[in-house]
């Protein structure tokens, strides 16, 4: 069998691309506005910016429009876009402890300093489909919501005062054990992953991992270790300030604006130290946007990877090589590309095996 390259697909591919556009538009009364996607599909946009590793909500909305709502395709488009852009600076280290918080809960302590603030969430709803959204008029609906919201007791309170972290309280009481992590600041967009993976690379990879994959793995890990059910010490959503060193003078800094993030600290298990002390081990999750389930899954997986064990979620290669949306989707969907030659060779092998088996039977019958 020769190795035959085939052509002839070009026209078909061009038409297929046009057909894709036709299906996108053929039943549309009006084209989707990118800003409407950005502002009203918040969680989808947040998922895409987090899985692409590029904080660009408006471009994420555009990518979602182009991808007709497929978050994996949209994240792929954004990651391709980021590879065309220059990167001249990195930020100063953001401290999520300084976050301007809009939501903050703890399932470990009810009386946390600064108290529990539910913020924007659908966690406490009955999941009844709201048919009134079918005929919603934006301005009127907004007015109605504003009328129903409680009047603010003290709108002039200064919210720049950061909330103290629950983990810091535990640490102050000597209840937390620091991880035995491999240090070193690695950037996985620049350097390839080498095992064992430094903690910084693990966190970066999980932070831009696939929500579904990470949730599934975290769920499997929780079912496996039922005795060590993790507890959310703190989950906070809010804005952090992006600051860089001023490029023209060393003693100044510049504020570039705010970035929305979700941060989670989980208490996963106890650990016994060499000196006999028993302490909590924390897990850490931080993602762009409001991605709460993913951030919790990240904290669970991160902590699993820092501890030894026999289950798959303790295995760095198993977790880290499979949770990237772009890589996993690319690998699975590449199966749609022609594999004519490899399949022919499989057929050959099968026929050869059948022939040999038949000859053997003939031989025995003689």
């Amino acid at each position: 069998m020769g190795y035959v390259a085939v052509t002839g697909g070009q026209q078909a591919i061009e038409t297929a691309n046009l057909l894709n556009q036709w299906y996108r538009l053929k039943d549309a009364d009006h084209a989707l506005e990118v800003t409407a996607i950005e502002k009203q599909m918040r969680h989808l946009v947040d998922r895409v910016i987090s899985e692409s590793g590029l904080y660009a909500p408006n471009d994420a909305a555009l990518a979602l429009k182009q991808a007709e709502g497929d978050p994996a395709e949209a994240a792929f488009l954004l990651r391709a876009y980021r590879s065309t852009l220059e990167r001249n600076v990195e930020s100063l280290t953001v401290d999520p402890g300084q976050m301007r918080v809009i939501r903050r809960i703890s399932s470990a302590f009810k009386d946390i300093p600064g108290s529990q603030i539910l913020g924007p969430t659908a966690d406490y709803t009955h999941r009844l489909l709201n048919f009134t959204l079918r005929n919603e008029e934006a301005q009127a609906a907004l007015k109605s919501v504003l009328q129903q919201l409680p009047k603010q007791d003290n709108p002039h309170t200064d919210h720049r005062q950061p909330f103290r972290k629950v983990a810091d309280l535990l640490r102050a009481q000597g209840l937390l054990s620091p991880p035995n992590a491999r240090n070193g600041l690695v950037d996985i967009t620049r350097d390839k992953l080498t095992f064992p993976v430094p903690r910084s690379a693990k966190l970066q990879l999980l932070s831009r991992g696939d929500t579904g994959a990470m949730t599934a793995l975290a769920c499997s890990s929780m079912r496996e270790h039922t005795a060590q059910h993790p507890t959310v010490a703190e989950l906070r959503v809010g804005y952090v300030e992006l600051t860089v060193a001023y490029p023209l003078a060393s003693n100044e800094t510049l504020s570039l604006g705010e970035v929305m993030v979700t941060e989670v600290e989980t208490i996963n298990s106890f650990t016994k130290k060499d000196n006999g002390d028993v302490q909590f081990q924390l897990g850490y999750g931080l993602t762009f946007g409001q991605n709460e389930t993913k951030a919790i899954a990240m904290a669970i997986l991160e902590q699993r990877l820092e501890t030894d064990g026999t289950s798959p979620t303790h295995d760095e290669e198993f977790v880290l090589l499979h949770v990237d949306s772009i890589e996993a989707n690319g690998f699975v969907s590449h199966l749609k590309l022609p594999h004519y030659i490899t399949f022919q060779s499989k057929l050959d092998v099968l026929r050869q095996a059948q022939k040999l088996a038949a000859e053997k039977t003939d031989h025995q019958e003689v």
């Binding site: 408006n58 539910l118 309170t157 992006l242 100044e252 800094t253 850490y284």
Partner: protein
């Protein structure tokens, strides 16, 4: 003291019209030169992981950057998102300040007013969220009261 951090915190969030007003005044009196036209680029965001207390890279943020010069003095505009006009204006203001132009003195009141408005708006958002604060009552106390 209006250092670059405080000024940029105002200029990246204030109304674009105020920034344009300042920039137009500069353009009339100074010969500003665009060194690098506004372009979108990336800033890698580094954050502190509170468990290990070490930094890691969270991901990249799309920003717009621009460089303007006046009298050989450079100025830089850097802002989150795709905002070419804002980045240009911020660079122009920065160049003028670096060249010793008394922009902060001239516009102090307007800038401070803009700063106040930004803080008030952010406070209002957080205050609104704070209305969803949970006021726990233990069941015992609940029963005593009712």
């Amino acid at each position: 003291m209006m250092n670059k951090q405080r000024l940029s915190r105002i200029l990246n969030a204030c109304s674009l019209s105020l920034l344009k007003e300042i920039t137009e005044q500069l353009e009339q009196t100074l010969c500003l030169q665009v060194e690098r036209f506004p372009q979108t680029s990336l800033v890698m965001m580094k954050a502190r992981d509170s468990v290990s207390d070490q930094p890691f890279y969270v991901g990249e943020v799309l920003v717009t950057e621009c460089t303007v010069s006046f009298n050989q003095k450079f100025g830089i505009g850097l802002v989150v998102g795709e905002a070419p006009q804002r980045a240009y204006c911020m660079a122009a203001v920065d160049a003028a300040i670096n060249a010793g132009f008394p922009i902060l003195e001239q516009w102090r009141e307007r800038l401070e007013a803009a700063e106040g408005a930004i803080i008030a708006e952010r406070n209002a958002e957080c205050a609104r969220s704070a209305e969803s604060q949970v006021h726990f009552d233990t069941m015992g106390a609940y029963n005593d009261r009712h």
